[in-house]
Symmetry: C2
Subunit: 724 residues, 2 copies
């Protein structure tokens, strides 16, 4: 995107740049990001030697697809890292043996008498032991998938500098259902996708299975992601026809060895659209039978099918309310159809209506809270992290903690619909951490969202976390190298919601770029401040939903048009001559009251509400005195500048890494940071120009006026923005 | 696409296959087709040594982007092929020097006194010479681009087994404008594209230039393609707005060093849509001024901009006839705007109207022939190879040879809109050769289409060949490895329309798979028969346009619906109880009369018309006696069977190459051949079932009946077919 104000480069200058690139030595194998964090480049000799001493031999019975995958990954990884794959062993008869197995598949493991009781079907332990008198490293688990996860864990440790001499660790996921949600349409378009077309080549399936599907499965398994919803929540019933189910089954076959179960988004009205019924009423016997038969048909093809995800009665999608039934009625009907086969329903709580005059932020809670306890055991209610819609910053959704009788699944967005598409660098690990560590206080201090989502706070057997995927057919999967980190962070947090964003960023940076501190350090630094920078230049101090209508690209705070008031920025910022912000206090919409009292009191109190949520919960004068001593207006302008400065700083840091990072990935990110800097400036300028048109205030001293007139920013249009 | 009759594989079987794949050794670098025919894999030691003796040193002044590209490619190629790049030399002071330059850039070349007169600005010579008493290999040219082409030629020779001891060759293109036509929309969709989204990432341009653009340029330069039309002929005027022209300029900057000039498709009504004018009348002074200004604006950004391609008054596109002006009026207006800058207009002759009751096959000729000689010097009229639309087989367009006063540009389709999309193996080199070698007889025997297109028959300075690209963002560029051969063949034939399809196939196979005869031989054998197989199983004996409406996928000979009669199969086959075929003889539509008399007489005469054009030019009874002694019906059924047999044979040949070709590319092609076999059977069965419903004839003895009922085939629908 070329923005005004961008430094124009003439064709001579760019020709020179192209020319200089040609003078570089012929590249052997350019790094284009395809390998993600599984690059397995050679370790320095000393490290390789230390690791190699523990991985001379590999003893594994690779007699199942999943164990074969574990063996293949270890061989691939160690061959890359060390220059040689471990030799296959049939017994532990030498030092440096890597021993991998379940008690059932490996007599040696069985005889070690390891305590695997708390590891479940996906956990594993890794331990340095002596076996038959020889130094060995053991990966043991109750089931094959744990072994595969353990293999990836070991490789991650090798990639990030761990020593292998005295390993003793136990890992098991805290969340049961860890799934990606692909918003992929059957025609290949990805809604809110900024990384090219859908990776699912539906047209050629089932007869051709793209080799890429296996690398997709490997990447997910490396993080512990154990499921994937293949199609958009704005679903097309066609996915449930026999012709498409054959395609889905082919994908399930490819993904199965990696522990990835396949799920589908179901269109609630499918019985009418592809079943020929006259209704989709969830209490209608014919409808119920249709779904039961459909479930049987699916499970005959895919015995381990995961289940269905449903967006119902939301943004025009059909649902049970079309028949005066509740969301519970709808979810339970599907749950009953799936239960005999072990499938689950993920029912989205993202519902709101333009016909409801109440604050949109309140509507999901209002709708779902009364249904608490009325869902079947195999239903998860899937709740977006905040009450609106994946904004750069939102307070946590008040539903977390408010439905003790219902397992609530977290829905994070990995694709950056509202944070600058694929070209803005914004590490979302800090956002995920902020939400997961938020304290609902529903059972006293420490009642974190993480504990709700893990099912721990209210003792649910079923738990889940969903991430709206940022994956497409672009060579680097996510549209940018740094967006790969958001896939990575989601996966790691789904496994353990208590992990720290910084630790995850550090792992990712070391695996993706270099284990050298001089690279990983600056990269982690960039990442950790990046999301706050986006908040600052787009929607500081609790502002939200100020982006362009439809495509959600760029600033459009003036927009009051379109089909629905609750899709317009003016609905959310409520700015006028005197002030700005949405009054959700008890004197306003009362949204604060949806939180537990200790939280509600803080949010309700202008003196206590954190600055970052000020304009989310309160409407205040432009002259409102902030904690800093400055007025709100001054603070707002300062935040925009801070955001831009942070991007400038990231860019400088990145440019200093030139030569330490392979040329192709470095150049792409450098281009993107330049785009981000232009667009941060645009967000700031357009926003300030608009606020000034309302409040008539001058830009505070020391800060420049907007580069262009408000009319100019209002004249820009982007009918060709991607992902729409 | 799953077709009925396909051997179903249960999930257990496919899981087993996945499992077996996992047992393979970890791949080092899987071949995914991205490298095209520029793989530069290590030569056998003996060959490497022989080649290395001639390429020890490299002497080139790489002081321009194009010469730098030549140097980079030689270094990259020789490093890959030989394991070491040549050492840079500053003089010819040792044996085995590769000496590259123009007289202007290289004093050594200048002093050799080579005769470069007939080589033009793109030609080159390669010669083994002694320089300063040392054995040297010289690549010399008048201009840098010739050096780059020469470098690619030398590398092609090394890849295909040539000796380098006694080289003496001169090469210059016979066709001036050698361009790809990308039917790429600005939203990334490619019309008739079967290889993923457009490679042009318009959204990120101009600020980010995908590294892939350079590999695209290298591939084209390796064939001598010297231009590319970036956007769809069904054009969006937005491409001509300043915001998009900046993006186009960025692409031009990337492509320029490789000799690729950028062209655009222009929407004729752009002056109204983006210029605010009330008319697009080509004789209107305001309109003419708008285009002049637009041309100046473009050339200010892109000094070597190639020109404009226009589809006007065709299939709903606007054009000069909207104002009662002629195609010449429209083309000349644009030509006048471009002429001061050296640009050209490529004006498509692909026009026909549903309001014209005359045979569609005649309409382009009827429209354009009277305009002969009325176009400006910088206009090429771009004519599709056949009179209809890129069918598996058509006779050559009667326009070739019929407009001696106008340079006619060939338009071939590389993307296989009508030949099975990306999953059917159909080498189009034989089709291109058939058309180019067709004899128009307009200036006596030997007046081949190739000579018309090269401008030689009627002495035109301007000449051109366009290929509708089959390039997309798929990793292998063309959707399948074998479709890369069609890009390759187009490029080679655009350089020299007299090249043989077999020779081209042999070069491609050796570069793409292996120089081993045991691989290249069978691969070339598959390729050479492949297009005839498609003709046989889709549209034998001159049948045409029998495919599904809109998406053009699969058989739909029964179709008589839709908005236009001239888009229905029944319009073209005219089959009924008694016979089949379109009577274009002098007793019928008279289309034969558009050819020169020696051609027309043959096509008009039922006794002389070649079998392959029988039903194109004649309507005959089902019982019509063929040269074989069989009836038409028997022959038709036999041709379908022959097509299927040929695909079976290709598949067997390919399966025997397993292990001799890298696993990933082998597996993908094997999958595609299985799809092709199923779909060949489908074409045959659906076609026969339909013909039988008309003629009531039994399937001849020895041939099976259709697998399913006609109603079954008629019930199939494919709203999700790609490229639509």
């Amino acid at each position: 995107m070329q923005q005004p104000g961008r430094v124009a480069t003439g064709w001579m200058a760019t020709a020179l740049a192209a020319f200089l690139m040609l003078c570089l030595p012929a590249r052997a194998a350019a790094e284009d990001g395809y390998e993600l964090w599984l690059r397995y480049l050679p370790l320095p000799a000393e490290r390789a030697s230390a690791v190699g001493a523990h991985t001379k031999h590999l003893l594994i019975d690779a007699g199942t697809p999943t164990r074969a995958a574990a063996r293949a990954e270890l061989r691939r990884g160690l061959e890359g890292l060390l220059g040689r794959a471990p030799a296959d062993a049939t017994a532990v008869d030498a030092a440096g043996t890597l021993l991998i197995g379940t008690p059932a598949s490996s007599p040696v493991i069985r005889n070690l008498g390891l305590d695997l009781r708390d590891l479940g079907n996906e956990g594993y332990l890794i331990r340095s032991l002596r076996v038959n008198g020889h130094a060995a490293t053991v990966i043991a688990a109750n089931a094959d998938l744990g072994l595969l996860y353990g293999a990836f864990d070991l490789l991650r440790r090798v990639q990030t500098g761990a020593r292998l001499d005295a390993l003793d660790l136990r890992e098991a996921p805290r969340v049961k259902v860890r799934v990606l949600n692909h918003w992929d349409n059957l025609d290949g378009h990805v809604e809110r996708g900024y990384a090219g077309a859908s990776i699912w080549d539906w047209w050629k399936l089932p007869d051709h299975r793209d080799a890429r599907y296996i690398d997709y499965a490997r990447a997910n398994a490396s993080l512990g992601i154990n499921g994937t919803v293949l199609n958009n929540v704005n679903a097309n019933a066609t996915i449930l026809t026999p012709r498409y189910l054959a395609k889905v089954a082919a994908l399930a076959d490819v993904l199965r060895p990696y522990g990835l179960r396949v799920y589908l988004s179901a269109r609630f009205s499918a019985p009418m659209e592809i079943g020929g019924l006259k209704t989709a009423d969830p209490l209608d016997a014919g409808v119920r039978a249709w779904w039961r038969d459909k479930a049987s048909e699916i499970y005959a093809l895919i015995p381990d099918f995961g289940g269905l995800l449903v967006k119902a009665n939301s943004e025009g999608q059909p649902g049970p309310q079309d028949y005066d039934r509740t969301h519970a009625d709808g979810a339970n009907m599907l749950a009953d159809a799936l239960a005999p086969h072990g499938g689950i329903v993920m029912w989205r709580a993202f519902v709101y209506s333009q016909h409801n005059p109440d604050d949109r932020a309140k509507q999901a809670y209002t709708e779902f809270k009364p249904l608490d306890g009325r869902f079947r055991d195999n239903v998860l209610v899937q709740v977006k992290n905040g009450p609106i819609d994946f904004q750069p910053r939102e307070p946590f959704s008040p539903l977390f903690g408010a439905m003790p009788g219902t397992p609530l699944m977290m829905e994070f967005q990995i694709t950056k619909e509202y944070l600058g598409f694929a070209t803005h660098l914004a590490y979302l690990g800090t956002m995920y951490e902020e939400v997961l560590q938020a304290d609902t206080h529903v059972k006293g201090p420490g009642s974190t969202v993480a504990k709700v989502v893990a099912g721990e706070l209210h003792g649910h057997a079923l738990s889940g976390m969903a991430g709206v995927a940022n994956i497409g057919r672009d060579r680097n999967w996510s549209g940018s190298v740094f967006d790969q980190a958001n896939w990575f962070a989601f996966g790691r947090l789904a496994w353990d919601p208590a992990l720290g964003a910084r630790e995850i960023a550090d792992q990712w940076a070391r695996m993706t770029f270099s284990d050298d501190d001089a690279v990983a350090g600056p990269v982690v630094g960039m990442m950790m401040g990046s999301r706050e920078a986006v908040v600052d230049y787009m929607t500081p101090l609790g502002l939200h939903h100020l982006m362009g209508r439809g495509h959600h690209y760029g600033p459009m705070p003036w927009d009051a048009g379109g089909p629905r008031a609750d899709w317009t920025p003016v609905y959310y910022h409520r700015a006028d001559r005197d002030g700005i912000g949405f009054d959700r206090s008890r004197r306003g919409s009362g949204a604060v009251s949806q939180y537990a009292p200790p939280v509600a009191e803080v949010y309700d109190d202008l003196a206590r509400v954190p600055d970052e949520y000020l304009l989310w919960f309160h409407h205040v004068p432009w002259t409102h005195p902030m904690r800093s001593g400055r007025t709100l207006w001054e603070e707002l302008v300062r935040h925009y500048a801070r955001g831009i400065d942070a991007v400038s700083q990231m860019r400088r840091t990145w440019m200093r890494l030139e030569g330490r990072i392979d040329a192709q990935r470095h150049a792409q990110t450098a281009d993107f940071l330049a785009i981000q800097l232009n667009e941060a400036q645009w967000w700031r300028d357009a926003s300030i120009a608009y606020w000034q048109s309302l409040n008539g205030l001058p830009v505070p001293a020391g800060f420049p006026p907007p580069a262009q007139s408000l009319e100019y920013y209002q004249s820009l249009s982007f009918p060709d923005a991607p992902g729409n």
